[in-house]
């Protein structure tokens, strides 16, 4: 990219013409007065929303400029957004569906099949002996067996609660 290799002298000479372009005579005599009178009118205090956006979020401002310049882009952007929403809704619907045969336990007494809370409650009521084993429950929290302590003292942290209800 050596400047000397490319002869830009003619172009530079041509660009000199720009220096001869001058505003109407007397234009600069009143320029500063216009600025000062606008400042005195309090215009200096206001800042447009566009200017604030340009300063705070230039990327958003340029995105808006693109939308403004090419209306077709807005259409394409909106279509993509709708497509994403539809796809999102479809995939969410699929992931919510329970696969067949996963929740098979059914006590049959007032419990809703597939609901671990109602199934646990009904199994506790219907078969207390069975509930102590809690083997039938599919609830992972409930089915945890108490692990034996390393020091042979099980569940020392748990104390029997005594409730003295005074009347």
């Amino acid at each position: 990219m050596k400047e000397s290799q490319d002869n830009f002298d003619e172009l530079k000479r041509l660009l000199k013409l720009k220096r001869h372009e001058v505003p109407p005579p007397g234009y600069f005599n009143h320029f500063s007065d216009s600025v000062i009178s606008r400042l005195q009118a309090g215009e200096g205090q206001k800042e447009s929303a566009v200017e604030r956006l340009n300063e705070s979020a230039p990327w958003l401002a340029s995105l808006l400029h693109i939308f403004e310049a090419r209306p077709g882009v807005i259409g394409a952007f909106a279509t993509c957004l709708c497509l994403l929403l539809v796809l999102g809704a479809v995939f969410t619907g699929h992931s919510d569906a329970t696969p067949d045969g996963l929740m098979t336990y059914d006590s049959g007494v007032g419990s809703m099949p597939g609901n671990p809370i109602t199934s646990l409650a009904s199994s506790t009521l219907a078969a207390p002996g069975e509930a102590s084993g809690i083997v039938a429950s599919t609830n992972p929290v409930v089915s945890l067996q108490p692990s034996p302590s390393m020091f042979g003292q099980q569940n020392q942290l748990f104390q029997n609660a005594s409730f003295a209800v005074g009347r």
């Binding site: 990219m1 400047e3 490319d6 830009f8 003619e10 172009l11 530079k12 000479r13 041509l14 660009l15 000199k16 013409l17 720009k18 220096r19 001869h20 372009e21 001058v22 505003p23 109407p24 600069f28 320029f31 500063s32 216009s34 600025v35 000062i36 606008r38 400042l39 005195q40 215009e43 200096g44 205090q45 800042e47 200017e51 340009n54 401002a61 340029s62 400029h65 403004e68």
Partner: protein, 203 residues
């Protein structure tokens, strides 16, 4: 032969140093700011005009730039000169405006001054070198401005500041906010593209 001494009165805004004027303007002294506007109005206007090729737009933008600068004077830390800082505001305003301008080729050109017709280089350019020998200076002016508008804003800005306004690479880098290498590279590609657009007038 000694040069005549310039008489300046440090108590009037006209005789004050830039730093003093800025300090006073920051405290709301509009007379001091008026002096600052007078000092830089021509250069700021010219830069914006060469970027937009439209007198009315340049007038509005130049005024807006000075108003914006007054608003922001409190945030001016003095890290660069007031002139560079003011230029930066004007350049950013112009580039933002050009992005939103609907009609890109809305020319409203200023007249050429009397000296243009006496410029040997320009006269030679339209009489000898070009195939269009009857091309007038105003035609050439129109073609030149149209070609400038075809450049991207960053390329045009660098070309205007360097080749038209005669600024150094360092000054431009400071104003535009990029390194000197980028300025050089933009200038090279801008010139190359301009040469292509104006091929009938060059060579």
């Amino acid at each position: 032969m000694s040069e005549p001494a310039t008489i300046t009165d440090a108590n009037t805004p006209g005789g004050m140093l830039e730093g003093d004027l800025v300090r006073r303007a920051r405290h709301g002294d509009l007379k001091a700011y008026d002096e600052l506007v007078k000092r830089y109005q021509e250069r700021i206007y010219a830069t914006i005009y060469h970027m937009t090729s439209n007198h009315e737009d340049a007038n509005d933008l130049a005024q807006d730039a000075f108003i914006k600068a007054f608003q922001a004077l409190k945030s001016f830390k003095g890290g660069s000169s007031f002139y560079t800082w003011l230029y930066r505001i004007a350049v950013n305003k112009t580039i933002n405006f050009l992005k939103t301008r609907k009609n890109k080729y809305n020319l409203s050109l200023n007249d050429l001054d009397f000296n243009a017709e006496n410029d040997k280089d320009l006269v030679a350019l339209i009489s000898d070198k070009t195939p269009l020998r009857d091309a007038s200076l105003s035609e050439l002016q129109k073609k030149l401005n149209e070609a400038l508008l075809r450049l991207s804003e960053p390329h045009r800005m660098v070309m205007v500041l360097h080749d038209v306004q005669g600024m150094s690479h360092e000054e431009i880098a400071d104003i535009v906010g990029c390194n000197i290498g980028t300025v050089r590279s933009r200038l090279f590609y801008a010139r190359q593209e301009m040469q292509g657009h104006l091929s009938e007038y060059i060579k």
